[in-house]
């Protein structure tokens, strides 16, 4: 299997370069991450993040042959013989495939991603019907890997002003939660030409999500709520 991998170490390199690798796969190598780990055993300077290796921690997001995805759940069998790996687009590169995610997390934090309630909690659990709970499906599963936001041209242009699909998906996760009592404040927080309305329904987010979530749908629902509120 052949690889072309983006390399950049600000400590040594004047500018980034693409480096070619060849790898003989073992029968046990199933996922792209298995191959990367084998490459790292040959060249320990090759740098990337990884942890759970099962698609739940969100560490190993990268651009794989032009499309964002998680290396640990990208099957080698589904890849062509030549694989080009680059860091997630639109974020500053720290080194090789490792990007600086500060702006991504700042936007996530900006939506107040936590339950807000004004009433004192009851002695036992707050009640929620199974149907109400089901509203959170497709929202709470986000792993903050940034595949969606870094596939979004609006986020590339305005990462400081546009919340981006991941942050907006989480904003809607709390709006949709029947226990949350801050819907109005949450909508106020997004009622802005940039924060929400830079979404032009390009749909790259939904296409990129390795967990098959649909940020575009959630964004559409927030827009709809704002429109309904305005009339």
């Amino acid at each position: 299997m052949r690889f072309s991998i983006y390399r950049y170490d600000p400590d040594q390199d004047a500018r980034p370069r693409m480096q070619d690798y060849e790898l003989n796969l073992e029968p046990t190598d199933r996922m792209l991450l298995d191959a990367l780990i084998r490459l790292k055993a040959q060249d320990d300077s090759l740098s990337f993040r990884r942890s759970c290796r099962e698609g739940v921690c969100g560490s190993d997001a990268m651009n794989i042959n032009g499309k964002n995805g998680l290396a640990c759940i990208t099957k080698i069998a589904d890849l062509p013989d030549k694989v080009t790996l680059r860091p997630l687009p639109g974020l500053p590169v720290v080194r090789d495939l490792i990007v600086d995610m500060t702006q991504f997390f700042n936007q996530y934090h900006s939506v107040k991603p936590y339950l807000i309630t004004h009433d004192a909690p009851p002695e036992r659990e707050r009640l929620q019907s199974p149907a109400e709970r089901e509203e959170l499906n497709g929202l709470y599963e986000c792993i903050l890997c940034a595949c969606c936001s870094t596939a979004c041209p609006s986020f590339w242009w305005n990462p400081d002003k546009y919340v981006g699909p991941a942050g907006l998906l989480q904003a809607y996760r709390f709006i949709a939660d029947t226990r949350d009592q801050a819907t109005a404040e949450r909508l106020d927080n997004l009622d802005d030409p940039y924060r929400l309305f830079r979404c032009h329904t390009i749909m790259n987010c939904t296409d990129a999500c390795p967990k098959n979530l649909n940020p575009a749908l959630a964004i559409g629902k927030i827009k709809e709520m704002l429109v309904r509120r305005a009339v």
Binding site: D11, V56, Y114, F174, R179
Partner: protein, 591 residues
Amino acid sequence: MNVGLQARKFDAIVVGAGGSGLRAALELARAGLRVAVLSKVFPTRSHTVAAQGGIAAPLGNSSEDHWHWHMYDTVKGSDYLGDQDAIEYMCRRATEVVIELEHMGMPFDRLDNGRIYQRPFGGHTQDYGSAKMAMRACAAADRTGHAMLHTLYQQNVKARTQFFVEWMALDLIRDAEGAVLGVVALEMETGEAMILQAKATILATGGAGRIFAASTNAFINTGDGLGMVARAGLPLEDMEFWQFHPTGVAGAGVLITEGVRGEGGYLLNKDGERFMERYAPNAKDLASRDVVSRAMATEIKEGRGCGPEGDHVLLKLDHLGPEVINLRLPGIREIAIKFANADPIKDPIPVVPTAHYQMGGIPANHLGQVVAPRGGDPEVPVPGLYAVGECSCVSVHGANRLGTNSLLDLLVFGKAGGEQAVADIRAMPAAHKDLPEDAAARPLARLARLDSASGGERVAEVGAELRKTMQAHCSVFRFPDMLIEGVSKVKQIAARAERMSIQDKSKVFNTARIEALELDNLVETALATIVSAEARQESRGAQARADFPERDDKNWIKHTLWYKEGNRLEYKPVHLKPMSVETFEPKVRTY
């Protein structure tokens, strides 16, 4: 003070941002203290994220339940090695911490009456071990850990906890009296080391499941807190007890929750036989994990394994129907399709016992304080040092942990450790203690050696050798000759690890350096494990010895303490006396 490094001062440092670290941090931040949380990874990437099936609490939402039944199950599950006072404490606080988690926004699944959904889990029974299973596992589909970790992180965002993301703690700082004054840590992005000084240092670094070749654990689970404690001259407790989860995906190691069996799935051998009926006539597939893993290993060993190599068994769940699978086990379906090429709606999943959880760890009491023998007292708190979560040994899990008790452990002892640290910090003088001259000597020497070493063995090679050796010599079944040979092999690997070198000398995000530093911690953990296992001449919980197949209550109801220096072992008594109720006396353990 000339210690050669920049120092920053905090009231408290939490090392690790998984479930227990975040729960402890929340307590400290809410108390208005200055707390720094260090993590090798962004908090939501911690391994708590991979927990699936549920968190135990006797809410009684779906079946009658009582904390005392839960306590009985946990004591029995521990094979009577758990400390019964700590177990009582955990079970009594379970409802409180789970309800709190719901109030924080945890998206638990719900029953029709709006209450938290609970499912059965292995070893959790009604009425002190009756044949009726308790519905005690509070679940968010099969993503309970993910939902819990994100909820706890979100609450810390709200509480404005200060995070040091992608920082690795290297070593503890102790003064001449043995008090812990903080840590030396490495910022991964810049490669700079720094002293983080604190009145309370809380270790929440998780387990070290990566000492085994076949493991459900994330790459980051390298026992960093254990290594730091061992190098600081403190003991590690009960390290021989490692849980092998019955259902890791064969070949891949990825976890398939016990919740699959909780929902009604079961195991089959190559003859299509539901073999657990023979090993555990009452609980069957929901017997506790050590029992199920041994049964599976026995089936495979005796030629009744499945597949061309006969090296796994099958987990069948298609009879649950697509509705239950998609609603309650969607993550499992995703994993099985990706990692086993099997859609569980139609096909069984090939599974094999896989290293999963470290019952032993840093000796701690139920208040999260790290304890060590001193002056004849086996459990004297080490001033300034706390340990919570999987890295600690409280010991509530004893020789075998029950499923769903780990997430509970994280919340109860994360909270308790945080509360205790708050109280201790408030009782201390305003000024921090002076750092010793050599505060950073050990970690700086470790870094300098890696910077200068060349021509040594590669980290990846030494690490692979360690994992292979532990897998072959110290797994589900343990044999005396293999253990003795294993001890000497791991000692040789430890010596090789001291000579390894890295090619990458960059300062910036040097993951080769991080992996080398992690391997130091894996080596300490592996040595503690195999030396302790070789010395314990009985079978109890997860330790199954071919030469001592029986539990020996006369000689071995005691905790192992391993010290790095000379691989020395000591023992200390198990707390058989609970806080307020009667002791559960050891009896024959059947399911």
